[in-house]
Symmetry: none
Subunit: 199 residues, 4 copies
Amino acid sequence: MPTTPEPGRRPHTGRRRNEAARQAILAATRRLLAENAPGRPVTVDAIAKEAGIGKQTIYRWWPSKGAVLLEALTSLARDEVRTPDTGVLESDLAAFLGDIFRAGTAPDNAAVLRTLAAEAARDAQVAELLLGFTRTRRGALRTLLERARERGEVAPGTDLDLLVDQAFGVYWFRFLSGLAPLTPAVARELARTLALGAR
Amino acid sequence: MPTTPEPGRRPHTGRRRNEAARQAILAATRRLLAENAPGRPVTVDAIAKEAGIGKQTIYRWWPSKGAVLLEALTSLARDEVRTPDTGVLESDLAAFLGDIFRAGTAPDNAAVLRTLAAEAARDAQVAELLLGFTRTRRGALRTLLERARERGEVAPGTDLDLLVDQAFGVYWFRFLSGLAPLTPAVARELARTLALGAR
Amino acid sequence: MPTTPEPGRRPHTGRRRNEAARQAILAATRRLLAENAPGRPVTVDAIAKEAGIGKQTIYRWWPSKGAVLLEALTSLARDEVRTPDTGVLESDLAAFLGDIFRAGTAPDNAAVLRTLAAEAARDAQVAELLLGFTRTRRGALRTLLERARERGEVAPGTDLDLLVDQAFGVYWFRFLSGLAPLTPAVARELARTLALGAR
Amino acid sequence: MPTTPEPGRRPHTGRRRNEAARQAILAATRRLLAENAPGRPVTVDAIAKEAGIGKQTIYRWWPSKGAVLLEALTSLARDEVRTPDTGVLESDLAAFLGDIFRAGTAPDNAAVLRTLAAEAARDAQVAELLLGFTRTRRGALRTLLERARERGEVAPGTDLDLLVDQAFGVYWFRFLSGLAPLTPAVARELARTLALGAR
DNA sequence: TCATAAACGAGACGGTACGTCCGGTCTTCTT
DNA sequence: AAGAAGACCGGACGTACCGTCTCGTTTATGA
């Protein structure tokens, strides 16, 4: 998410940034990503044309193509992350993971993330954005585990971060590789395994 | 400064394939991957120049740039993956994960893997090859778990693939994000958690 | 270093047209044209910034970039063109051409004209305006020749426009190509040749 | 109606520069220049597409778009410059100027030269090419005048270069401005005037 | 023995995408 | 209402890189 330019020292005169253009760009990007048609590659030019804006407007708001893709993805999966509190770790985990998995199963996100990871590797800014994207979700899962620890469902000395990484590791790994599914059933099974491992 | 391979040293082999050229290509690729310098991108032209060979020679041996990268990686990490058999799941896991973590933390490998993952992100073919690379290791871990199941250490109905993905998920996630370490201690703790979760 | 016009000094005049702004624009244009530095291209944005005004103010007063350039030139070379009348064609020509050559050789004018000609070359509108600028001078020369014709110094049937174009052709050609000088001596010699050719 | 060059017919030449590609580029440029259609601007992309080659191939042979235009023009007007020798200066001049004028009257050269002059102003290389283009012709005219001087048709002390510039000045001035024609009649009249002025 | 065939270094080529630049218009806030 | 500031659309520019193709050279093989 691009840091909105802090309103400068001088009260901003001049034409203000056009939020509609910004949204048009994101919408167009999402549309192209969702189509994923062979003849319609997700090019910067294609995005500009689809959005009916000039290329420069894209580069005025985002530093690179990858940044746009990331934000399009983020806004795609912006559905709030629930931090359920059923009083039982396994149930909480199952609900949480189910949510995450569902958002990540949208048909074409894999391609997006592929491009993103590439950008992240060469553009530190994108990398930071990508990490920021996951940080929120990781924080939510961590909270969930801490609550369980207070309830005594987690053995003292257990490395909570490792548990978090097990969950997100599975998620990202399967998401990116497409080798195995991210179904609700898997979410439940993963919840079970993690809850067991936490004891 | 690139360790330029002494130029013109490599002899022609006439109409027979020149193994030296092949090795020069792999060595040059590894060098570029390890450097990962901004002004020295890992392009096919760069590899060819660094190796002192023609681009066509690359495409005579490999179908695409990604294939070269993968093979450079594979030859780097050829150290066989042990499939220990101590008779106790947790010990087996700890040994296996320790190996994997160590290989991925060796400074040279790390740079190569990171660049390769970036490459994979933008080239689906590389991604496929990279997955093929991990398949072997995944197979080893899976074997290890199956043996434990036969010994009764794993609850029937447990999703072994999910356990495998938890292990490799943590590995890749931490490796690529750099958010958390991959120390031997983490390997042991992960082994403990997985063994617990398998019950 | 650009002689930045003290910024913010010029007062707003509210709803009345601000002659000061107009002059600032012309001055800034002249400055940029005269500099002709590689890093300071004569773009509309550059002019606006250098003048400390908004781009729209330029387009409120002139229909296009070229029009601004032309007016900057015109105001530069406003020195009236003399139409001498010595009663002898050759003398008249020598005086007239001497003036023209001198104006075009003044260092400042030279830079401006050269840049402008370049601009004219890529912008048909500028070319048109530039021609309008020369039309006045051409008219003066033509008048001079007509007077000579009435005096009988020009053979009947002589193409006066062709003579005019010979004079201005030499002027522009040498001015733009820089291949040969535009000295007073050349003006005299050209006057002699033209007077001869007119007979 | 783009006369598409039979696609894919042109053979590769391997590591040597492909003269066919070069010619295809020039031909395509000439075609686009000649069309001068509003919807088909003479863009680098358009040239590349029309020629059926990659843009990079253009930039491998020429430093900029202007250079291509110039060469297309040059090759267009490559018709040899005659240096007639009738034994009479005026006749020689008339023939020579007639040739030059005819070449310059091709409908669309004006646009080409406009673009060229723009490039020349910012790209010294193009400027040099443009001057080289005229040098040959100027040399021919100069030779012609020198022969006349030897025959005694030119007054001693006459500035031959000035006469040359009068001729080419008229040519370029009318050519670029389009203000007055370059008909055979004008060539004859100019020849008469110059021959007179030389005496 | 000598012609042929294959691999090689070199690098031009077609094609696709990228990110930048600039002209002219539009919008917002200030004076 | 005019002005300063600057975002916006459109379109061209020149660069980077992939994978293909051909050249001329070098060497092993087979007639």
